[in-house]
Symmetry: C2
DNA sequence: CTATATATTTTGACTAGCCAAAGTGTCAAG
DNA sequence: CTTGACACTTTGGCTAGTCAAAATATATAG
């Protein structure tokens, strides 16, 4: 019933890496469609397990109090489950930033690395990393880093597809951690913090062309462009 | 039969943390009594498992080619097993040094931390850490760090109990990673690299008193003193 | 209101690790 | 040469996590 580990492989006192991964997954799926229950199919797909496995795990997490599981309906995190998930997300994102800033890895590769490290890292080590990075609030992809108490800083961001042609905006967040996609962006000088101009936005061609202040330029299809969130200095 | 992981919890392509721990354990036990086979009892004690579990694991590792297992005799690492063990040791020790030097943890606490991290860290991350640390050859306890190819630098070290009174030697290695012991040494300014003078060595009292160049001083019983290896500039 | 498609749940089975306890070698002392 | 003592191995059984396939709901189309 979701016991804490005694410390072989995972950091001591933690839930098993498996359980942690399900909680993280559920949190992320919940973000995609806020309010609604997450079905077993989605969990199974996201976790790359069979539907039966997802059902079994949700039942178990239900008994442990981490999720509310409605048979044939779906599940969502309880308050307790959400708190756990935010801690895991915090570790994941701090580790990602650490890998980029301190160890100099490319932002396209840190997601995978962080997936293993997030389970092994102790609170003490995490605290040191946090300090070393100067208590950051966003990771290399612009995703917010929950505070130690699990609070998340909200930013008002606009989807790139909602920006009119000619708009000058700042790239704030990339909602796709696929290595190839991030490499593409990086090659054209696009990363959170960069200022870009929407030089062309053509609904019929289904494409948006971006010119970055640092010289790069790319054209993205709408489905790729929706992955990018930007910050406008103010007005619509 | 000792498969490589696909990457849930442990770093991808690695043996399971459990298997890695047995290999590391076997390596360490072999170091204690070079040449002889390691009995199941010792493995069971070191791994904190029942004897039956040790037997089962040694059989399995035998089939995988990592150890030579002689029923009712004991086991020892094969060439392949030794190579694996040295990689694990390399990760463990580089992580320890990293935790001390970059994250500023105390040397008494890094052993436990490294025990979880050593399984989660990828080759790429390890390479960056190695570089960041300047390709070090010893960890915070003075234990040698195997090279990427698994070579270990040999140093001629003397046991502290073999030093005559008045000898001025350099502390090189501490063969006990117990937090309390390391804290004690640290509190008296004793750590690898420090020069110390054997101010008193009394076989009858079973005690050795050390004065460190940086002011500290401690008296250790023989059983504690054997844990310390020192370097003499030359002559006996 | 039925029939079918789809999502979900159940069932039976498997692997890696582990334990307790019963069984079996081995060796030294008598 | 026999007898313990002790170390080791075997056996049966447990949990976490997984899958495949059968059983069951649910929703939607007709």
């Amino acid at each position: 019933m979701a016991k804490r580990t005694k410390g072989e492989g995972d950091a001591p006192g933690r839930l098993s890496s498996t359980v942690e991964n399900y909680l993280k997954c559920l949190y992320e799926e919940q973000q995609k469609c806020p309010g609604e229950l997450v079905g077993m199919g989605r969990i199974a797909t996201a976790m790359q397990v069979s539907p039966g496995t997802a059902t079994a795990m949700m039942k178990m997490l239900g008994n442990s109090g981490f999720v509310d599981y409605e048979p044939r309906g779906g599940s969502h995190l309880t308050k307790e489950g959400q708190e756990e998930a935010l801690q895991i997300l915090r570790r994941h994102r701090l580790v990602e930033l650490f890998l980029v800033r301190i160890l100099g890895l490319d932002w396209s590769e840190v997601h995978t690395e962080a997936d293993s490290l997030e389970h092994a890292i102790s609170d003490k080590v995490l605290a040191r990393i946090d300090e070393l990075l100067g208590f950051p609030t966003v990771d290399p992809h612009g995703d917010p880093i929950p505070s130690p108490s699990g609070r998340i800083e909200h930013r008002v961001l606009t989807n790139l597809t909602d920006c009119r042609q000619g708009a000058r905006v700042r790239l704030a967040r990339v909602m796709d951690e696929t290595a190839a996609f991030l490499q593409l962006l990086g090659q054209h000088g696009l990363q959170p913090g960069e200022w870009v101009t929407v030089s062309e936005s053509n609904e019929i061609a289904d494409a948006i062309t971006l010119v970055s202040d640092n010289g790069g330029s790319v054209t993205l299809g709408t489905s790729a462009a929706t992955k990018l969130l930007v910050e406008r200095d103010d007005e619509a």
